[in-house]
């Protein structure tokens, strides 16, 4: 195996120059690239974790909101049903009262009409009876008898009624 001092010196010089150049054209850029990529991957993973946590938080929030909305709607429906029941009861009561009033008014007016009709009828019957009696006993009765008779008829009619 050969040993040359010149080769030793050349090896040192050559390697130092080689190292200086290749460090600039190769190692620095490629290491920077690899480290940048590594950093980017680390950041991306962190960001993804963050986004996942955020999504989970939002999901829970929406879930809660949905639950609250569900409960609220249930409450609203219950309230509406209750209100409708109350309104129905009130309307029913009102209607019943109105019906009673109408009925009462009608009965009163019927009673009044009947009374009036009866009074008119009584008048009419009296006149008719006088007329009839006059026809039956024309001239055979005097004034006094006549009056007595008429009164008797009127009383009888009153009793009949």
């Amino acid at each position: 195996m050969e040993f040359s001092m010149y080769e030793l010196i050349w090896a040192i010089i050559n390697f130092l120059i080689f190292f200086g150049v290749i460090r600039l054209v190769f190692w620095k850029p490629i290491i920077k690239m690899l480290e940048d990529r590594r950093q980017a991957v680390i950041e991306n993973i962190a960001r993804a974790e963050e986004a996942k946590a955020e999504a989970e938080r939002l999901r829970q929030e929406y879930e809660q909101q949905l639950q609250a909305a569900r409960e609220e709607s249930k409450e609203i429906i219950n309230k509406a049903v209750k209100m409708a029941d109350e309104t129905r009861g009130r309307l029913l009561n009102d209607a019943r009262g109105e019906a009673d009033r109408i009925m009462e008014r009608a009965q009163r007016s019927i009673r009044e009409e009947k009374d009036k009709a009866l009074a008119e009828l009584r008048e009419e019957v009296a006149s008719l009876a006088v007329l009839a009696a006059e026809r039956v006993i024309e001239k055979e009765i005097n004034e006094a008898d006549h009056k007595h008779f008429v009164r008797q008829v009127i009383d009888e009619v009153g009793e009949v009624q």
């Binding site: 040359s4 030793l8 390697f15 290749i22």
Partner: protein, 243 residues
């Protein structure tokens, strides 16, 4: 005793046989190994530039995908030795070692390597691996000092009870580290090439294929070991806890 003397004492001459030219003035010899180093480094820089020229956050090009895979694998390797922050910090240096060494190792398996003038696997030469190991050594010390200040030198004297004994031992250990690092790499690659060459001369058909396959694995393993050990040295020099 310097490395150079050590190596010379090991029996090899200080001069390379395949001299191509000498840089005038300073007298630096340019050998086949040096030119091959230039080509490999040039190609790697080109590849790196092509990769990052039009990078996308979501890679679509095959080149970017492949290179990202390589970089991620190296980063994963370093993360087993040190924390992620330091792994990213030292990835350029250690990754450059890995890329250069693995391509150098494999360049020796290309037919013609070592025979064509100006083409020789750099990592099969101890001089080259020693140069790389010296860079590792300096990087370890510099980063240790930069991270811990003067406290960095404290570990040379530990355990304190045995400081007079431990200081020379620890310094020796610190020097032995790059020595073994460079010798292991060069010897493995050189040995592999010698075996391959010998086999090719003895039985030129079929059998060398298995050795070639093994050499592909060894080439990777050696680049891997060099990088991991360098990472361990830098990691322990810059770690918070004492060692």
């Amino acid at each position: 005793m310097s490395w150079y003397e050590l190596a010379s004492a090991a029996g090899e001459s200080g001069h390379s046989s395949d001299l191509i030219f000498v840089i005038p003035g300073i007298g630096l010899e340019v050998t086949s190994v040096v030119t091959t180093m230039w080509v490999i480094m040039g190609l790697l820089i080109l590849l790196g530039w092509l990769t990052t020229r039009s990078m996308q956050r979501l890679p679509e090009g095959r080149l970017q995908n492949i290179m990202e895979m390589v970089v991620e694998a190296l980063l994963g390797l370093l993360e087993q030795v040190m924390d992620r922050k330091r792994a990213v910090q030292y990835l350029p240096l250690l990754g450059s070692f890995f890329l250069f060494i693995i391509v150098s190792n494999y360049s020796g398996l290309i037919p013609g390597a070592g025979e064509i003038k100006g083409f020789k696997a750099p990592t099969s030469h101890w001089g080259v691996t020693a140069g790389l190991a010296i860079v590792v050594f300096v990087a370890v010390q510099l980063n240790g000092i930069r991270k811990k200040g003067l406290k960095y030198f404290k570990h040379f004297a530990e355990p304190v009870m045995m400081a007079p004994l431990m200081i020379p031992l620890n310094i020796l250990e610190e020097v032995v580290k790059p020595f073994s690092l460079s010798l292991r790499l060069a010897a493995n690659i050189y040995g592999g090439e010698v075996v391959l060459m010998g086999l090719l001369m003895a039985i030129p058909y079929f059998l060398p294929i298995t050795v070639l396959g093994l050499e592909v694995v060894f080439g990777f393993i050696q680049a891997f070991i060099f990088t991991v050990l360098a990472a361990v040295y830098i990691g322990s020099a810059t770690s918070e806890e004492s060692h």
